[in-house]
Symmetry: C2
Amino acid sequence: MNLKELSHLLGLSQTTISRALNGYPEVNEETRQRVMKVAKETGYRPNRAAQRLATGKAGSIGLIMPISTNHSSDMHFAEFQSGLAEVAIEHDFHFVIMPARMQDEEQAIRWLVASGSVDAYYIAYVREKDPRILMAKSLPLPFIVHGRSEGLELDYPYLDVDNEGAFFDATRFLLQLGHQRIALLNGQAELDFAVRRKRGLEKALKEAGLSLDPATTRHGFMTDEQGYRGMAGILRLPNRPTAVLCASTVLALGAVRAINEAGLKLGRDVSLIAHDDELPLLKPEHFSTPLTTTRSSLKAAGKRIAERLISTIKGVDNNYPQQELWKVDLVVRASTGPVPRA
Amino acid sequence: MNLKELSHLLGLSQTTISRALNGYPEVNEETRQRVMKVAKETGYRPNRAAQRLATGKAGSIGLIMPISTNHSSDMHFAEFQSGLAEVAIEHDFHFVIMPARMQDEEQAIRWLVASGSVDAYYIAYVREKDPRILMAKSLPLPFIVHGRSEGLELDYPYLDVDNEGAFFDATRFLLQLGHQRIALLNGQAELDFAVRRKRGLEKALKEAGLSLDPATTRHGFMTDEQGYRGMAGILRLPNRPTAVLCASTVLALGAVRAINEAGLKLGRDVSLIAHDDELPLLKPEHFSTPLTTTRSSLKAAGKRIAERLISTIKGVDNNYPQQELWKVDLVVRASTGPVPRA
């Protein structure tokens, strides 16, 4: 059964059938139900090229894959992408992915939009006053920002998690346990989420009359290696911190190795809280000393962004606010404990 | 400086300039050098849409992203993709990615080819007598298979690693250490690499007059969870194995947790060898007891496949054989030791 045959059978145009099967609102619900029923009974499978002609849509979401010479595959990117894919497959959408170095990302977005190969796209790894957002607003395709851009006085659609609140809560918890010297292993300093997490830590310290020591702060790629090197360096300081916040469980993986190698016990000599993106490989409860975390699912964010983009493309009302800020849980496990006695 | 201006400056057609900058062999070397020099001096950056018109190429590689309801982001897929991307970015290529469930992969390939949005593609997660390879040979686009398909009497381009040899060597090493009961935590039973790894184990056992006990064999997704559950079950068997082969360091992560929880010491009570795809997060030397591995870089495979596909698209001779079989190293670390005395 092809689309032409289905069109004869139903007495409807091929365009109407395609739109009905794809849930476009131009087709009334009764017709849509009738098309769905017959398509199911006859085992019809839509031809994507025909769909594209009928709807004028590419059926695809564009994304930029950040490439750096300094690190390899990024678990965070892969996990987010798996969330996108789970929703995309339900709507028969595909991806057009442009790998780009940081300095070429604006050009890559221009290309995605000009190519006609995508219906919408999203912007991630957002920086302070990110010029890509201003550019995206001037281009004719729908987009969503994953994250927000500090210092940009613009109205734009986004989904972000409360990074500042997460690290504020984590720090306050450490202060309650008596810790005063708290280190930070953060993402790249220019990324918006890293700016906000650092600020959360600083605000909580300030409330307690304390401040963050730059000597115990590290910024960089969120890799196992960075976590290891950062933590090893911090543990060698004369007046070493008794607690550390890690911006990812990937950083924590290396940090825990450095703590073990220094002969220190996690949760007793050093307390650690990591941000948990719910990467399936690095479950905080599976560390030999289970990790206390601030938790927010990257995969769920990927799913939400795909849902919002696809419903925008289809012109369907999705009831989601244009700007979403997700709260982050603080989950206490064994890697945190009272400050050790001097 | 745009292409039109560059064309005036050089007195060459825009098509010739595009082809020269993209290394297509229709342009002679002298002209190409002249174009490159002037483009560099004037700071010209090519416009991809113009390139596409000039070369008749989409400038993209197609791939299928396997989706399953049973597991989330796949580190192996992400690492391979990072290798592809590293080469793609050098040649200004992008990806068109179609997420597909296993039963829909043939349809997804047909769509990729029919869409005109890709110049070439590759097939991965190959199964025995894989019908996609026969189909790919009948379609008009170049492709490469990552892996091979057991039982298929066809000539097709591929890149594979010597999976059988890897697990044969690993098993022979365990036999030399006195182990006789060797368990297997493998990938999905229908995947070609899993078939060959199991066969390598069985061949080495047979040479020693032994055989593989089905009760100590597990097949499934290569996740941490599967490794944990598989190993925990095997350790509860009455006459439990003294050694185990894991088809991935991801499976080993879970297996090591199960070994620890059972109060056994890795490398003394139980020996373990894992296949190491060189996933950056799971370096075998970073496990608390460093893992003995069979090693082959997935990222290097991704890079090679991108190089081969792109040179085929450009009609450039790449000197790589059509069928490549990479040898696998056996790297001995602390997770293997002599069989414990009964």
